[in-house]
């Protein structure tokens, strides 16, 4: 979808390299690309302006002009500055002066407050705590039911007083309830609201003043555009937000909103939401988000995605089969299906640094239809044939081609490629026996 910044900088500096010396004007060209990349990632305009000025000063001041690899040096600076803005240290939840710890969830409608109330509760219980969730959203239809359903799902107490009561009283009563029963922390789910809705913003202030929360977490959607800054500024100005929870990061949004919010408010990002399931909550790592904003690939996320879908035993069994040379078409099909579950192929490839650029250069169209054809061919084989692909002769091949709606040459191609793969694996197997390979290869990706 997007060309990554590193591609563009390589291109820009590549043109320049030919004429020998780089000048400040050349750096400006490069900075235009930085600016564009950040704007396309939805980083706020003003934040981009300041950011680019900072990067430019560093680039001209030192490294880039004299560097043999100006593009890399420039990217290095951009990356470093991004991490600087995002916060070098990972910040944990604040400890309360005296218990209970009270977390108040605030944000726009549809940001994911209720879901993340559940996720945080689960996360904290895993640390040995006994959280209480509080349903203080009395406006959205069935918001209370939603929190109750989540509570049931993870077996967590939910405090609610229906929709007829004032959220300020509900919150205060909930804290008392928690104290009486020794529940701690208390996580208060408030209704979504627009930052310009004076009445509802005042309600949040009232809740805060009544229950004196340890932490006010602004829940923000990673897909938010330029307005993210306005939202965060307004919530922060009224409430003094203490942390940010960035949701829907399992999508493919670049997440520039996070950078904007952090830059403008200085509020640390504390968690990111990475899925619909209640355990999909992760601590925030600035380096990863920096890489993502720049479109520089996200190998860690790729590895995580793969891990999600393979359990360790499976992976070990497969690795053994591979190294012993027993890897057959059934295993291959199984792997193919796992990869498919990770998402569209071209998206996965974009997570690998450099691959995105090479593919575009080769104008290679990798489509998920290729999977389908391979799958079709393997499905048209008998189990015996899948285990003994080397025994597939002309007549079997014709049958398989007919069965899968392909040509004999397609079947042949698959078989040849598979044979090469097997040969390679056998070689690796022999190397592994001689101790030349590390034990745990990530063969499952």
């Amino acid at each position: 979808m997007f060309e990554s910044l590193s591609d563009r900088l390589n291109e820009t500096f590549g043109r320049l390299n030919k004429k020998g010396r780089l000048t400040e004007a050349d750096v400006d060209d490069a900075m235009r690309e930085v600016r564009r990349a950040l704007l396309e990632a939805d980083v706020n305009f003003k934040v981009v302006k300041d950011f680019v000025a900072k990067v430019r000063a560093r680039a001209v001041g030192q490294d880039v002009l004299r560097s043999l690899t100006p593009a890399q040096t420039a990217i290095g600076i951009v990356n470093e500055e991004l991490i600087n803005v995002l916060g070098r240290e990972r910040e944990d939840l604040l400890a309360p002066v005296r218990p209970p710890q009270i977390l108040m969830m605030v944000g726009l409608n549809g940001a994911g407050k209720t879901t993340h109330t559940g996720k945080l509760a689960l996360h904290l219980r895993k640390q040995g705590r006994s959280p209480l969730m509080v349903a203080a959203d009395v406006y959205r239809p069935a918001a209370i039911n939603q929190l109750q359903a989540l509570g049931k799902q993870i077996d967590m107490p939910v405090y609610e007083e229906g929709t007829g009561r004032n959220p300020v009283d509900i919150a205060a009563n909930a804290v008392r309830y928690a104290q009486e029963r020794g529940l701690n922390p208390v996580i208060v789910d408030t209704a979504g609201r627009l930052q310009i809705d004076e009445r509802l913003m005042q309600e949040l202030v009232d809740i805060r003043d009544r229950i004196n929360p340890t932490e006010i977490l602004l829940v923000a959607d990673a897909m938010t555009g330029q307005e993210a800054v306005g939202v965060a500024e307004a919530f922060n100005a009224r409430l003094n937000v203490t942390g940010l929870v960035l949701t829907k990061m399992d999508g493919d949004a670049r997440g520039g909103a996070a950078l904007s919010i952090r830059a403008v408010t200085g509020v640390p990002i504390k968690f990111i939401g990475t899925g619909e399931k209640l355990d999909a909550l992760e601590p925030f790592y600035p380096e990863r988000l920096a890489g993502r904003i720049l479109g520089m690939g996200d190998v860690l996320s790729l590895v995580e995605k793969a891990q999600e879908l393979t359990d360790e035993k499976d992976a070990q069994r497969l690795q053994d089969r591979m190294l012993k040379g027993h890897f057959d078409l059934e295993d291959f099909l199984d792997q193919l299906q796992k990869i498919k579950k990770m998402g569209p192929l071209n998206q996965l490839l974009e997570m690998i640094p450099g691959v995105g650029a090479q593919l575009r250069q080769a104008k290679a169209e990798i489509s998920d239809d290729d999977y389908k054809q391979i799958e079709g061919i393997i499905h048209s084989m008998t189990p015996w044939e899948r285990r003994h692909p080397e025994r597939i002769g002309g007549s079997r091949r014709r049958r398989i081609a007919r069965g899968s709606g392909t040509r004999g040459s397609d079947v042949n191609q698959l078989l040849t490629q598979f044979k090469q793969m097997q040969t390679m694996m056998n070689q690796m197997g022999r190397m592994a026996k001689k101790g030349k390979l590390p034990k745990n290869l990530p063969f499952d990706i």
């Binding site: 069935a142 039911n145 939603q146 938010t224 555009g225 330029q226 998402g343």
Partner: protein, 321 residues
């Protein structure tokens, strides 16, 4: 007054609706108005304009394009007066959005065949609320409407739809949470047929467009519908959050790949968002943008009109509310 034009088809006047949009438009259009309120067309005008467009989420590409077109026209027609430049910009913006209306098809409701609307979108864009609005919209034309709770995944999504169904007095076909959405749709199709319902609106679970298996589920739901009515769903509505950034375009593209999106609705235009994503969507996709959602009440739905969208969000023509 501009809002009267925007909401010409609305049956009942609604003061709050107008206030909703008023909030949205105030900041940007006053800035655009101020921008052209100068003595000459100079370089600074272009730079500031680009900034304003980007701030309104039009995206880098579209903003560049609009500024370049304006420059070209100013040079070609030797424009001097900033007010003329402003008019050129307005026309260009309307023209861009018209890409999203020229493919609009006339929808025909057949007697005895339920008109099925499948509503899709990523999580939290406001699908359920939009469904209620859409239902109320059809009811105002005297059509009987039924809702199907196809979001069996999110906790209490079914309850939420049921509450809306109650409020607007529309029957809701639902199974339990965790049930197969295909089965819900199957029952709803049958019920719609038996009860002679004019319009059946099917809710689906919010899904991120990069989750292949969830996107496939939409294809499956579609097939279930077609078993009853071969042309169903006659409308596949994608809801996009007006506050979304450039990812909104990617969402639209990905959804379009899995299910044939026939219509787009820009929701949550009541916020301080500027709805700039409509421009990228119009330029890149050409799928008709049909509705805008502007508030939290069931009446807060309007038909999308390029000229009034541009005027009320960016230029504040007809100001005086």
């Amino acid at each position: 007054m501009v809002l009267n034009r925007l909401f010409r088809r609305r049956s009942a006047p609604d003061v709050q609706l107008e206030q909703g949009l008023e909030k949205t438009r105030r900041s940007v259009f006053s800035e655009i108005t101020r921008l052209f309120d100068r003595s000459a067309i100079d370089e600074e005008l272009y730079v500031d304009l680009e900034m304003l467009l980007i701030q309104a989420d039009l995206g880098w590409d579209v903003s560049q394009q609009l500024v370049a077109e304006l420059r070209a026209r100013v040079t070609r027609d030797r424009l001097r007066d900033p007010a003329d430049a402003r008019e050129v910009l307005r026309t260009e913006m309307v023209k861009l959005l018209e890409l999203a209306t020229r493919n609009r098809k006339v929808k025909i409701l057949q007697r005895g065949v339920p008109f099925v609307i499948m509503v899709a979108g990523v999580n939290g864009v406001g699908k359920t609320t939009s469904i209620a609005k859409l239902a109320a919209y059809h009811q105002r034309f005297g059509r009987s409407v039924m809702l199907a709770a196809g979001d069996t995944f999110r906790a209490a999504a079914i309850d939420q739809l049921a509450v809306w169904g109650d409020r607007i007095n529309a029957p809701v076909i639902a199974h339990r949470q965790g049930a197969d959405p295909g089965a819900v749709v199957f029952d709803a199709m049958q019920a719609a047929h038996n009860r002679n319902v004019d319009v059946l609106i099917v809710d689906t679970a919010g899904r991120l467009h990069n989750k292949a298996n969830l996107m496939f589920e939409l294809t499956k739901i579609r097939k279930v519908m077609q078993r009853h009515v071969s042309e169903a769903p006659q409308e596949v509505l994608l809801v996009i959050d007006a506050t979304s950034g450039q990812n909104g375009l990617i969402q639209a593209k990905e959804f379009a790949k899995s299910v044939e999106i026939t219509d787009i609705m820009i929701a949550k235009l009541d916020s301080t968002s500027k709805g700039g994503i409509a421009f990228s969507v119009a330029k890149e996709l050409g799928t008709p943008i049909s509705y805008v959602g502007t508030g939290e009440k069931v009446t807060d739905l309007a038909e999308f009109r390029p000229d009034t969208y541009v005027d009320s969000l960016f230029f504040g023509v007809g100001e005086g509310l």
